[in-house]
Symmetry: C2
Subunit: 245 residues, 2 copies
């Protein structure tokens, strides 16, 4: 908080990107809430110790993300500041626990395939590595804005029709219910972070260099049998996790 070095030169990260990332965080933390406007470009340039053009590049990136909107003659308005809060608990579900935070939640099936489980997934699902499983690639949005992208694995013998169910119901919970799983609980959740890349970048509409929060979760049915292994990538500037113990 004190003596904050604002930008690092020759770091391999362009100044405009460092500044854009910092400003996005500031906005999400509500630091400019008084007026709903960004400080003038000239002020920002002085504050970050860079040229005004560099600040403009950063603001252009944020405008591209729809976070700010420049208004000639007036200033730069903040359009959106939000970070959804996801509770992580025994009964974690994507579409719940967001009470009032978003008006609409949606899950979209962007691909699926049947394959052998492989070492890692097999351990999570407590099956043999050569067992067949169904793999669903899903994309989740809040109020039309992509929030996370997940790769879900289900045992093929038990959930042969899971892809079709998900496409219909647009929710894992409902798709599982339609497949005969009335209820389930979260057994374990592992959380890490990484830079976004590849398809995640495009699908989540992130700018390169953005951060992902990655969860690896195992859900079990009420008999304790694993039914779902999921690797979910959240856009870190749009979410936070809360763990109540």
């Amino acid at each position: 908080m004190t003596g904050t070095k604002l930008v690092e030169r020759q770091s391999g990260i362009a100044l405009w990107r460092q500044i854009a990332d910092r400003m996005r965080l500031s906005i999400n933390n509500g630091e400019f809430d008084g007026t709903g406007m960004m400080p003038p470009e000239k002020t920002l340039a002085e504050r970050f110790g860079v040229n005004r053009h560099t600040v403009r590049s950063a603001l252009a990136a944020l405008a591209d993300e729809g976070i700010v909107r420049p208004l000639q003659g007036i200033g730069t308005r903040i359009e959106r500041r939000d970070r959804l809060s996801f509770p992580i608990a025994r009964r974690t579900r994507f579409s719940q626990g967001l009470g009032g935070q978003a008006r609409e939640l949606d899950g979209k099936l962007i691909g699926w395939r049947e394959q052998t489980a492989g070492q890692t997934v097999a351990e999570g699902l407590a099956i043999t590595p050569d067992s067949r499983c169904i793999c669903l690639e899903t994309l989740h949005s809040a109020d039309g804005r992509p929030v996370s992208r997940a790769t879900n694995y289900f045992p093929a013998d038990r959930f042969a029709a899971i892809a079709e169910e998900y496409r219909t119901h647009r929710s894992i919970t409902k798709a599982l219910a339609a497949s005969g799983v009335a209820d389930y609980v979260r057994r374990s959740t592992e959380i890490s972070a990484a830079h976004a890349g590849g398809e995640d970048l495009a699908d989540l509409r992130l700018s390169p260099g953005a951060i992902l929060l990655v969860t690896i979760a195992v859900n079990v049915d009420m008999d304790g049998v694993p039914i779902q292994y999921a690797r979910t990538r959240f856009a870190a500037d749009r979410v936070k996790f809360t763990v109540d113990t």
Copy 2:
């Protein structure tokens, strides 16, 4: 996993840094475990679709972090691949739950001050915003390698000597015990991610652009009274969190 776009040009992130970040992740995921060596520079350059010099810049950055060591005539050896796993639970403590993962753990007091709580901290500690509290800046290392940096707040009336106790015991748990708190539990943990900057960058010996996992935690004594509000920044490439529910 399929059709992975490897590097993004004109993204504001230098190619060598994107490649360094990807290779660090690969190393930590144990992808080159067979030989303990990186693939030759020529191979990496082809794989990433860049010039060999660009790959060399990335490898130089990793060598600087002590992750790889170039050996002329032989190749580039992987020196270290580790990501500590921190369990997050009701009884979360930094210095425990790492059984066998590191030989030595250490907490260092890098600064402290007395101040008024302020809005956010006051809410966590359930006190009034103008109450006095002690603020400790601490740095935590595993096997001599910095892992996290924390800002800890304690109510001043109850823990006047906490700074001195921490300096002596180098552990929050022991410092609290010396201040009359025999036991305590974690009430809530909030997890988010951000780019590292400022003092965190230097103290955690990170290269700019690195990711932090940020936890905001509240600990309470056995009567349920909040005793500690902590904001901890973990070097994301060195840790992961596990939440068992």
